[in-house]
C-alpha cells in the first residue's frame, strides 16, 4: 500500500517537473499590433434603465449604454478580441486566474479573454444578488447566484468557445467570456488598438472576433523579434 503511494508520488513529481521543462512556451519577442475600425453606420447604443436596482443606478452619473457595438473616435471599434487562431497550439494555461467583476450592475470587463483551463474568478462587488449565467454550448452550461457577501465563484472552461454571459436578475447585464486555445490575445481598447506580445517566430493566423459581426482572419509571419501590424475593418449596419 505504502509503496504504491510512493510510486504514484514519484511519478507525479517526475511528470510535473517534465511538464515544467517542456510545456512552457518558448518565449518570443515578436509582436502584432494594429487597430480595429469599422465602416458604415454603426447602430445607436441604447441607454440602460437601471432604476429597478437603485444601488447600481446611483453608481452611474450618466446612463450606461449597451455595449454590443462600442465605437470610439476615428471609427474605432472596441471590445474586439484579436487572437492567434492557428500557429500557436499547445501553450498551457497561466497560473494567474482571470478576474471577472460585477460592479454597478455591469460586467467588468465587457469581454473577458482567457485561456482554456485557466482559472476564472467571478466577484460580486455590488450590494445586490447577481446570477451568472454563461450560455455556453460546447462547455457545460451553468447558472449560479451570488448574493452579496458570498465567496467568489471559482471555475474554468475546458474547451475554446465564445460564451455570452448574462445575469437574469438584471437582464441588461451582458458580457462575453472568450475562452481561447492560445496564450496570445488582446482586446481592442477605446481607440480600437490592440497589441499581442511575446510571439516567437512563426506563421500565424490572427483572428478578430466581434460579438455581433462575422470574425475576420489574417495571415501574419513573424521572423525574429519583428513587430508586425495587422488592421481589421468591420462592416457595420445601422440596424
Amino acid at each position: 500500500m505504502r509503496s504504491g503511494y510512493f510510486t504514484a508520488l514519484a511519478v507525479a513529481v517526475l511528470l510535473g517537473s517534465g511538464m515544467l521543462v517542456f510545456a512552457k512556451p518558448p518565449a518570443g519577442s515578436g509582436s502584432i499590433t494594429g487597430k480595429v475600425t469599422y465602416t458604415g453606420t454603426p447602430p445607436k447604443m441604447k441607454p440602460i434603465d437601471m432604476s429597478k436596482e437603485p444601488s447600481c443606478a446611483k453608481q452611474h452619473a450618466t446612463p450606461v449604454m449597451t455595449q454590443n457595438v462600442t465605437t470610439g473616435p476615428g471609427n474605432a471599434l472596441q471590445w474586439v478580441v484579436v487572437y492567434i487562431s492557428a500557429g500557436d497550439e499547445g501553450s498551457s494555461a497561466p497560473s494567474q486566474g482571470a478576474r471577472y467583476d460585477q460592479k454597478g450592475c455591469e460586467y467588468l470587463p465587457h469581454v473577458l479573454p482567457m485561456q482554456v483551463a485557466q482559472q476564472l474568478q467571478i466577484y460580486n462587488d455590488d450590494q445586490t444578488s447577481h446570477n451568472i449565467h454563461p450560455l455556453s454550448k460546447t462547455n457545460p452550461e451553468w447558472n449560479k447566484s451570488q448574493p452579496p457577501g458570498s465567496p467568489p465563484i471559482d471555475t474554468k472552461y475546458d474547451k475554446a468557445e465564445f460564451i455570452p454571459v448574462k445575469c437574469n436578475i438584471h437582464p441588461w447585464m451582458h458580457g462575453y467570456f472568450a475562452v481561447l486555445n492560445t496564450s496570445h490575445y488582446a482586446v481592442s481598447g477605446e481607440d480600437g488598438s490592440f497589441d499581442i506580445k511575446g510571439l516567437p517566430p512563426g506563421k500565424y493566423t490572427v483572428t478578430a472576433w466581434q460579438e455581433q459581426y462575422p470574425a475576420q482572419s489574417q495571415e501574419v509571419t513573424i521572423s525574429g523579434s519583428e513587430a508586425k501590424t495587422a488592421n481589421f475593418v468591420f462592416k457595420v449596419l445601422p440596424y
Binding site: 445586490t128 444578488s129 446570477n131 449565467h133 450560455l135 452550461e141 447558472n143 449560479k144 447566484s145 451570488q146 448574493p147 452579496p148 457577501g149 458570498s150 465567496p151 465563484i153 455570452p164 448574462k166 437574469n168 436578475i169
Partner: protein, 592 residues
C-alpha cells in the same frame, strides 16, 4: 341478504411473523396507519426546518446561516442563501406540507388506523392494496426529498408548478430541469398512492361496517374520511394526467403547456401552440378539492374530539355536520377558478367562480357555528386533545373569515399573491389541519401506543403553539394589506423595506413556536416508552375504538364481532354509568 360473519371471514388474515412482515410490509391497517403517520412526521419535520431557514432569510437576508453551505454549496455559498435556493426551499416546503403532511397524516394516517376500528371491521377492504398505497407514497416522498441532493437542487417553481416556468427546463432557472422532472414524477406517484388509498377507504366504509353500524351511526371521523376519500378519488384522477403531460413537455419535447415564441436566457424555445392556462386549470381543478382533502379530516377529528371534550354530541349531530361536509365536497369542484381570478382567465369566468366560492362559506359557517354552540352548555374537560380541538375552532374561524375577501374577484385584484393569501391559507388549511393532527395525536396516542402522552408537556405545547400561530399568521394579513408580495426571497422594493421589522417579529414568533414543536416531538417519543400505561378508554369516549385494549390486538376485536346499538356520541347521558353509553353497549337509553 348477507351474513356479517361470512363477510368478516373473507377478510380475515393470519397475523404475520418476522420483523419484515410485521413492521415493514405489514398488511395490518394499524401498522400501515402508523407508517403513514411517521412518514408525515418526517415530512413535517423537514418542512418545518425548511420554513425556519426561509423565515430566517426573510428577516435577515444578508446573514449567513453557518453550516448551510454543506447542504448545498451552490444554493448557499458561504451559508448565504441565494434567491433560487430560497425558492427551492419554498417549493419543497409547500409540496411536502400539502401532499405529504396535510393529505397524508389526517387521512391516510389516522384514517387507516381508526376507520376500520370505528366501523367495527378487522382490517381495510384490500389490505394488500393498502400496503401498496403506502409504499407508493413512500417512493413519492423519497423522490421528492432526493431533489435536495441533486446538483441543481429542487425546482424553484413553487408547489403549484405554474407552466411554462415548470415546463421549460434549465433555461428558465436552476432546478427546473432534473429537479422539476423529479418533482412531477414524485407528485404523479403520490397521486397513484392516494387514488389507491381513496378507493380502499370508500370500499371499506361501505362494505365492512359491523352489524348495527348504519350510515347514520358512523362517527364524524368516519364520515369525514369517507367524504375525503371520494374527493381524493375524483380529484387526484385529474392531477395524474396533468403530471404525465408536464413530464412529456420535459422529456418528450411536447408543448402542452408551452406557447410559441418564448425566449429564455436569449434562447428561442422550440415549443409552440400550448396553453399555460391549461396547466393552471388542471392543477387547480385538483387543487381546490385538495384544500378540502386536507381540512375535512381535520373537521372530522375536531368534531369527534370536541364531542368527547364537551361531553355532548355536536349540535345538530351527524346530519348537519355530514350535510355540510357533503355540500363542501360537492361545491369544492366548482370553485377552483378563484385561484385564477387575475391569472388571465376569462373575466366572465371569474364572476362565475366567485358565486360558489362565496356559497361554500355557508356550510363552513354552519359547521363553525355548531362547534361554538356545542361548547355552550357543555361540561368541558380541558385535556390536551380537547384544547387542540377548541384551538382548531378558533383558527378555522379566523382563517376562514379572510376567505371572504379572497373570494371576491374585485378584492382579489389587490390581495392576490400577497401575504394576506399566505396568512389565510396557512391559518385555515395549514394551522387548522395541523391542530386537527395534534388533537388526533394526543387523543389517539394511548390507543396507538398503549401509553398516555405527558399532559404537562402537552399543555405547554398547546399554549405556545396557539399563541404562536396567531403571532405568526395574523401579522401576515396586515403586511398583505400593505401589499407585501409573497414568494419574494428578499424585500428590495421601496415600500417593502419598512415592513422588514414585521418579518423579524414573525420570524422570532416562528422560532418560539417551532421550539414548542420540538417539545412535542420529545413528548411523542418519550411517551412511547416512558408514558403512563393507558387504559382501554382514557377519555370516557363512546366510539368503538375505545371498546378494545390499548394497543388493539392484531384483528382489532379479538375475534369478536361488535354489534352497534347506539349513535356514536351518547355523551352526557343522565343515569348512565359514568355519563356516557358505549356505542356497542346493549344498554337501552331512556328516550329523552
Amino acid at each position: 341478504m348477507h351474513d356479517t360473519s361470512d363477510q368478516a371471514a373473507v377478510h380475515h388474515h393470519a397475523p404475520p411473523k418476522g420483523f419484515l412482515w410485521t413492521h415493514v410490509f405489514s398488511l395490518d391497517h394499524k401498522v400501515i396507519g402508523k407508517q403513514y403517520y411517521f412518514l408525515s412526521l418526517a415530512a413535517v419535520v423537514i418542512g418545518m426546518v425548511l420554513s425556519w431557514i426561509m423565515r430566517f432569510h426573510l428577516a435577515w437576508a444578508a446573514a449567513a446561516i453557518p453550516g448551510l453551505q454543506h447542504l448545498s454549496q451552490v444554493g448557499a455559498p458561504g451559508g448565504i442563501i441565494t434567491p433560487e435556493y430560497y425558492l427551492s426551499l419554498l417549493t419543497l416546503h409547500g409540496t411536502l406540507m400539502v401532499f405529504f403532511v396535510l393529505t397524508t397524516a389526517p387521512q391516510a394516517g389516522f384514517g387507516n388506523y381508526f376507520l376500520p376500528i370505528q366501523i367495527g371491521a378487522e382490517d381495510m377492504a384490500f389490505p394488500r392494496l393498502n400496503m401498496l398505497s403506502f409504499w407508493v407514497t413512500f417512493v413519492g416522498f423519497v423522490t421528492l426529498v432526493s431533489t435536495l441532493f441533486i446538483s441543481d437542487g429542487p425546482p424553484i417553481s413553487g408547489w403549484t408548478a405554474y407552466a411554462p416556468l415548470s415546463a421549460l427546463g434549465n433555461d428558465a432557472g436552476p432546478g427546473l430541469g432534473r429537479g422539476q422532472i423529479l418533482w412531477v414524477i414524485s407528485i404523479g406517484i403520490f397521486c397513484i398512492g392516494s387514488l389507491l388509498g381513496a378507493l380502499n377507504f370508500i370500499a371499506t366504509t361501505l362494505d365492512l361496517r359491523c352489524k348495527g353500524m348504519t350510515l347514520a351511526r358512523m362517527p364524524y371521523t368516519v364520515w369525514a374520511w369517507f367524504i375525503t376519500a371520494v374527493l381524493g378519488l375524483l380529484a387526484f384522477a385529474v392531477l395524474l394526467p396533468a403530471c404525465v403531460l408536464l413530464v412529456l413537455d420535459h422529456v418528450g419535447g411536447t408543448s402542452f403547456f408551452i406557447p410559441g415564441g418564448l425566449v429564455l436566457s436569449d434562447k428561442l424555445q422550440p415549443h409552440s401552440g400550448g396553453s399555460t392556462l391549461l396547466w393552471q386549470h388542471m392543477f387547480w381543478f385538483f387543487g381546490h378539492p385538495e384544500v378540502y382533502i386536507a381540512i375535512i379530516p381535520g373537521i372530522g377529528i375536531t368534531s369527534h374530539i370536541l364531542a368527547s371534550t364537551a361531553r355532548k354530541p355536536l349540535l345538530g349531530g351527524s346530519r348537519v355536520l355530514v350535510g355540510c361536509m357533503v355540500a363542501i365536497a360537492f361545491l369544492s369542484f366548482t370553485v377552483w377558478g378563484h385561484h385564477m381570478f387575475i391569472s388571465g382567465m376569462n373575466p366572465f369566468s371569474s364572476l362565475l367562480f366567485s358565486v360558489p366560492t362565496l356559497i361554500i362559506t355557508i356550510p363552513a359557517s354552519i359547521i363553525s357555528l355548531n362547534w361554538i354552540a356545542t361548547v355552550f352548555g357543555a361540561r368541558l374537560r380541558f385535556h390536551t386533545p380537547g384544547l387542540f380541538a377548541i384551538g382548531f375552532i378558533s383558527v378555522f374561524v379566523t382563517g376562514g373569515l379572510s376567505g371572504f375577501f379572497l373570494a371576491q374577484p374585485s378584492l382579489d385584484i389587490y390581495l392576490h399573491a400577497t401575504y394576506f393569501v399566505v396568512g389565510h391559507f396557512h391559518m385555515v388549511m395549514g394551522v387548522a389541519a395541523i391542530f386537527g393532527m395534534f388533537a388526533g395525536t394526543y387523543f389517539w396516542f394511548p390507543k396507538m401506543f398503549g401509553r398516555m402522552m405527558n399532559e404537562t408537556m402537552g399543555k405547554i405545547h398547546f399554549w405556545v403553539t396557539f399563541i404562536g400561530v396567531y403571532c405568526i399568521f395574523m401579522p401576515m394579513h396586515y403586511i398583505g394589506l400593505a401589499g407585501n408580495v409573497r414568494r419574494y426571497s428578499a424585500f428590495v422594493d421601496d415600500y417593502l423595506i419598512p415592513l422588514i421589522p414585521v418579518h423579524k417579529f414573525i420570524t422570532i414568533a416562528a422560532f418560539v413556536t417551532g421550539a414548542a414543536q420540538l417539545l412535542f416531538l420529545f413528548n411523542l417519543f418519550w411517551s412511547m416508552y416512558r408514558g403512563k400505561k393507558a387504559e382501554e378508554n382514557p377519555w370516557d369516549s363512546t366510539t368503538l375504538e375505545w371498546t378494545i385494549p390499548s394497543p388493539p390486538p392484531f384483528d382489532n376485536f379479538g375475534g369478536r364481532h361488535p354489534i352497534v346499538y347506539h349513535d356514536p356520541y351518547e355523551l352526557g347521558v343522565e343515569g348512565a354509568k359514568g355519563d356516557y353509553v358505549m356505542q356497542d353497549s346493549p344498554e337501552k337509553l331512556a328516550q329523552s
